[in-house]
């Protein structure tokens, strides 16, 4: 249960929360820009990388040539999808830490 004190504080915050002002603030615009600059290009990249495999296997036989042993390039490309997914996961986790710092700043500014 929240104490009366914190309820009072929350009500105060809600009455004064001006979302438009937050959106227009420098820190928030910076957060949106940083997120966009990371998410948009990488999303385009992974979708292109992902669809290249079925497009190549459907419309050509280039990936059927052997990379080494009996393993063809199709399998190498398939494994590369796993590596790509994990790498982009790690990259996002690292990048998101900087988003979190900005969020903290925005929340502080909004409350202060």
């Amino acid at each position: 249960m929240a104490s009366n004190d914190s309820i009072a504080k929350e009500t105060e915050a809600s009455a004064s929360t001006d979302y438009t002002k937050i959106v227009q603030s420098q820190s928030f615009q910076e957060l949106l820009r940083k997120k966009r600059n990371f998410i948009v290009p990488l999303s385009i990249f992974f979708m292109v990388f992902y669809f290249t495999l079925p497009i190549l296997t459907s419309y050509s036989k280039v990936l059927n040539s052997i990379a080494f042993g009996a393993i063809s390039w199709a399998w190498i490309f398939a494994f590369a999808q796993f590596i790509m997914t994990w790498t982009l996961c790690i990259l996002y986790s690292k990048k998101a830490a900087t988003f979190d710092q900005l969020v903290e700043k925005i929340v502080k500014e909004a409350k202060g």
Partner: protein
């Protein structure tokens, strides 16, 4: 009947009932019931997401498909995994910040109108039901094969168990059943993979070399194109795989079981590692089954290849490994259907009953009671449907669920967060058109119509040539949402969008 398998089934069922007993003592409020009071850690939720996601279709289906068709089966593994980048980059954090219990909560946070919530709930219930029937039909067939219990009784047993988990234990029990099952499934798959690899002297290169002669497909086994011959259909399937996950309601409600967006992100990252490692191992399952069980024996047990993994366990590990893998497959089905019941029941109880019928005035106790009755209702309905659907193609039902999720839910989730002009008309149009178009295209497709008797549900020429509707229905869903928005005279509420933008990105929101 295999006595050892039966005993392991009983042990796993006993374990899940113990979990449910402890969870039920903690399930008192609506937040407990729908979200385990958002108390899971990122690590726990990561395993639970993996447990929810690695369904029997993944475990048994992909292993069978790789065993019978080689490379093409692996497309599913890739698509199911890469889909998590869409979830991580675009959906998970805004969803956690905007939503409370259900997907409809998120959309209703921006469009506070009953019809938006109603249509979103309808989509959730449709998708969950298709998915659930698929799991139940699969469960019935599997248990019949493993234990020799009749289809009718198998479905009823699974149905009763899943109802017990959800009704008594809510999200807490469901989550822990999924976590336990995910750990068991990973362990079983790992053991089989190691034994398979050992048979090839721990050399992947040697394994690939031997696979060239191990199957009736010969060297072609290792090349794409054995199963998916139509390029457009292949692309359509891949599109639905990569975009469908981000619209699946039972996966999306898993983000409400953690306390904030940061933990939601962490759980997706953990889930991606677990799921990725699992899907890599599907190669060993599939290759192993092809090499050590053999095409004829796999087909003889089940034409779709669904028994490849259990048969492989028996071939390389004897009775105990067979019993263990069969019991794990059973636990997999239980966990996944429990998650599905919960997502459909939440949509009924929280969105239809709580918000539309009672206009948000129901007490906490009334809501929990409603949610429990909704769970029973959903379970009974899906058991009855599963009994009628006994002879339906399971893959057809799963592809339907993925296509509907990607066509009807994803456009709305994306536009709610990222498009300022998006309005109520666009949301409702997008959801309805996405739902109807994906359903319609599947009903006109070769899944339903085939000139060969017995190959599909009806005999006749399919009016729509593709088995996977995604490549048409997903763009239709997006276009309908855009068109609905632009054609409506109502302007979007700019102030409301600012609020959504702030909440989605920071988690700040006014107390209700």
């Amino acid at each position: 009947m295999n006595i050892l398998a039966f005993i392991l089934f009983l042990i796993i069922v006993g374990l899940t009932l113990v979990i449910t007993y402890f969870a039920s003592r903690r399930t008192k409020t609506t937040a407990d019931f729908y979200t385990a009071d958002s108390s899971l850690t990122g690590w726990q939720n990561g395993w639970a997401i993996a447990g929810d996601y690695m369904s029997a279709a993944s475990f048994l289906g992909i292993a069978g498909m790789v065993a019978l068709s080689g490379f093409d089966g692996f497309f599913y593994s890739i698509g199911f995994l890469v889909a998590y980048l869409v979830v991580l980059y675009i959906v998970a954090e805004p969803l956690r910040n905007l939503g409370k219990y259900t997907l409809a909560d998120m959309i209703a946070a921006r469009f506070n109108e009953k019809k938006v919530r109603g249509v979103a709930a309808l989509n959730t219930i449709s998708i969950s039901t298709f998915y659930m029937i698929a799991q139940l039909v699969g469960a019935g067939a599997l248990i019949k094969l493993l234990l020799g219990i009749d289809y009718l009784y198998s479905v009823i047993i699974v149905g009763i168990l899943m109802t017990v988990y959800v009704v008594f234990g809510g999200m807490t029990a469901t989550s822990w059943v999924q976590i336990v099952k995910a750990v068991l499934l990973m362990a079983g798959t790992f053991i089989i993979s190691i034994i398979v690899l050992a048979k090839f002297d721990f050399s992947v290169i040697e394994m690939f070399k031997q696979m060239k002669t191990a199957t009736p497909l010969g060297a072609d086994f290792l090349n794409p194109g054995n199963k998916f011959k139509d390029p457009l259909d292949t692309l359509s399937l891949n599109l639905a795989l990569v975009l469908g996950t981000a619209g699946l309601p039972h996966i999306l409600i898993r983000f409400f079981t953690v306390k904030d967006a940061i933990t939601a992100r962490k759980s997706v990252v953990y889930a991606t590692w677990i799921i990725g490692i699992f899907y890599i191992m599907t190669i060993f399952l599939g290759f192993g089954a092809a090499a050590f069980v053999g095409y004829d024996k796999i087909i003889a047990a089940n034409a779709a290849g669904n028994m490849a993994a259990p048969l492989l366990a028996e071939a390389i590990g004897g009775d105990f490994l067979f019993a263990f893998v069969s019991a794990v497959a059973f636990a997999t089905i239980l966990a996944v259907v429990a998650g599905l019941v919960l997502s459909a029941a939440s949509a009924f109880a929280h969105d239809f009953y709580g918000h539309i019928i009672r206009k948000g005035q129901a007490t906490d106790k009334e809501q929990v009671v409603a949610a429990r009755w909704a769970s029973i209702g959903v379970s009974v309905l899906s058991i009855i449907l599963a009994l009628f659907a006994q002879n339906m193609n399971v893959a057809f039902l799963v592809s339907l669920a993925f296509a509907v999720a990607a066509s009807a839910n994803l456009p709305i989730i994306v536009f709610t967060v990222f498009w300022k002009r998006f309005n109520t008309a666009g949301a409702v149009t997008g959801m309805i058109v996405g739902l109807v178009s994906s359903l319609l295209l599947v009903f006109l497709s070769p899944n339903v119509w085939s000139p060969v008797e017995g190959a599909a549900i009806f005999v006749g020429e399919p009016l729509f040539p593709l088995a996977n509707p995604g490549i048409i229905s997903i763009p239709i869903g997006f276009i309908a949402a855009i068109a609905g928005t632009l054609l409506s005279s109502k302007k979007a509420d700019a102030k409301k969008y600012d609020e959504i933008l702030v909440t989605a990105n920071t988690g700040m929101k006014d107390p209700i």
